[in-house]
Amino acid sequence: MARFVMEFERPLAELEDKLGSLKSLDIAATPELAAEIADLEREVERLRVTLYSALSPWEKVQVSRHPDRPKTDDYVAGLFDQVVELRGDRAYADDQSIFTGLATLDGRRVVVIGHNKGHSTKENVARNFGSPHPEGFRKAERAMRLAARFSLPVVTFLDTAGASPGLEDEERGQAWAIASCLETLSALPVPVVVVGIGEGGSGGALAIGFGDRLIMLEHSYYSVISPEMCAIILHKDAARAPESAAALSLTADDLLRLGIVDEIVSEPLGGAHREPDMVIAEVGLRVGAALDALAGEDPRALVERRYERLRSIGVYNEAG
């Protein structure tokens, strides 16, 4: 199967292909080949470092969308034991674009909520490419309420391009479903740890995307609007998304600076999909540490502090 090559990786991919074809030749027959291969290997390594160590915001957006990037269910399978999936919103359907379940992280019992993109086209169709319908948000809210009733901390994973913008999504109250999640999440009397693992697209991400600790992978993004949509609004041209991506301050680094994100998990050179097990394990450690730090806090103090933090977000002048 052909591997997925992101636009900006193309020069590297071409070099790698060349290296691959050289390696497939008979080295014994052409002794000077060995030296050429060694040269090319050094060149590939050099290009890999320069390419990936200074990704632009738009390149990070592409990495965050990489089809092989670990998904919520990879984190669930890799980190949690005794998983009991909770399905359905008890009103209309089970929206598979959001995963909810009871799970145990290294002995810590939690409720997990996450946008769940698929690994294959078939899975992606079943999961609407990770873009929730209103029933997905209502399922998420059901899981939040369950967590509150049984004093279980909540761990959420963000990975969505945004809430689904379909006709029926509108008719079934997409905005209402998201708003209700926001209200419930803001007052949840249990610790909430949020992990941005891929795309953090707008209101659909925010519905499960704030809490007491916000951790982001190095190449994940979180944005008020997709760079493409922003470019269409500003220039009527989606091709100008790279400019928009830079202007929107949507990278983990930008958001750490703005005080919205608390910590960043570094990714291996090239992105999380190069070493998924390593990244998943590191996320597990960070989430565990965050849960431990928040454990035993008075629920009312926790809610109060979360509100204070939300209230403090925003930049404005005030005279007098």
């Binding site: 509108e170 998201i178 404005y316």
Partner: protein
């Protein structure tokens, strides 16, 4: 006066009635009574004096003209009861947003043409004698988008109402979150929703009136968290804009999609209320939902 200037002047007068506090001669203050205008719905030519007397509703077909925020507030409160709060909050350009037109220039132009400091206006008032905090949004100001200042004013409105045991009544219009403030804008959705939730927990009522148009991050946050939601006739309300929905489903949209009446049919709002009946309707709701002041005093 050149013909271009004449058109420019007319453009500035598209919005009707008065904007107190606005320097004389600026667009946004009154369309003089002597002006004739045409109704976009029934195409009749109307005398502005008649339109103004009907709260800017066409006397023939009931078309609701847009109103500036100040007039939205005047249309629902007890006359003369409005006292604006948080007047000195102004937006900055925290991201130095550079794509497209510089955000600073956009803000400057909006302030100039609307005589407002940002897209939302809030204050204390009374409705049917009930103490409330009211607010209204103005589409002329960067599409009534929600950035830090709008989010802060709305959150403070809820907080103040909670502190002073008032109800909250908001007239909402918006194109959504203000993208020029990036994630700071998106987070205002969480902030305003949290504040609305705390008002609800305090046992105080919140009524929202959705006017044309209300979309995006504002619909998906405080706008629809009200105890009772009304919409104005002709209001279009949704999360995703109709063009995006159409592109997504690749067929044309059904008639009336996202209209106020279809929202009632789908169970999303309580009623479509004509502007002239609004004050009374909101007052009646508050009669039911406002906690009894005497009882509350007794409780203390």
């Amino acid at each position: 006066m050149s013909i271009n200037d004449w058109f420019k002047q007319r453009e500035g007068r598209r919005y009707t009635v008065s904007a107190p506090g606005c320097p004389e001669g600026k667009p946004g203050d009154g369309l003089p009574d002597g002006v004739w205008r045409s109704c976009p719905q029934c195409k009749r030519t109307l005398y502005q004096g008649d339109v103004a007397r009907c709260l800017s509703v066409c006397p023939h077909c009931g078309h609701h003209f847009e109103l500036i925020a100040r007039d939205r507030i005047d249309a629902i409160i007890d006359p003369g009861s409005f006292e604006e709060i948080d007047t000195t909050l102004t937006s900055t350009d925290p991201l130095r947003f550079s794509a497209g037109k510089p955000y600073g220039a956009t803000l400057e132009k909006a302030r100039e043409s609307t005589c407002m400091t940002d897209a939302a206006l809030t204050g204390r008032a009374s409705i049917g004698g009930h103490p409330v905090v009211v607010g209204a949004m103005d589409f002329r100001f960067v599409g009534a988008s929600m950035g830090s200042v709008v989010g802060e004013r709305i959150a403070r409105a809820f907080d103040l109402a909670r502190d002073e045991r008032r109800g909250v009544v908001l007239v909402v219009a918006s194109g959504g979150a203000r993208m020029q403030e990036g994630m700071l804008s998106l987070m205002q959705m969480a902030k305003t929703s949290a504040a609305a939730g705390r008002l609800a927990q305090a046992g105080l009522p919140y009524v929202s009136l959705l006017v044309n148009p209300t979309y995006g991050g504002v619909t998906a946050s405080f706008a629809v968290l009200a105890d009772v939601i009304f919409a104005e006739p002709g209001a279009m309300v949704g999360f995703a804009g109709p063009r995006l929905v159409e592109q997504t489903i690749r067929r044309s949209l059904p008639k009336g999609f996202q209209s106020a009446t279809s929202l009632v049919e789908h169970g999303m709002i309580d009623d479509v209320v004509p502007r002239v009946e609004l004050r009374e309707r909101v007052a009646t709701v508050l009669d039911y939902l406002m906690p009894d002041a005497a009882l509350e005093a007794g409780d203390l």
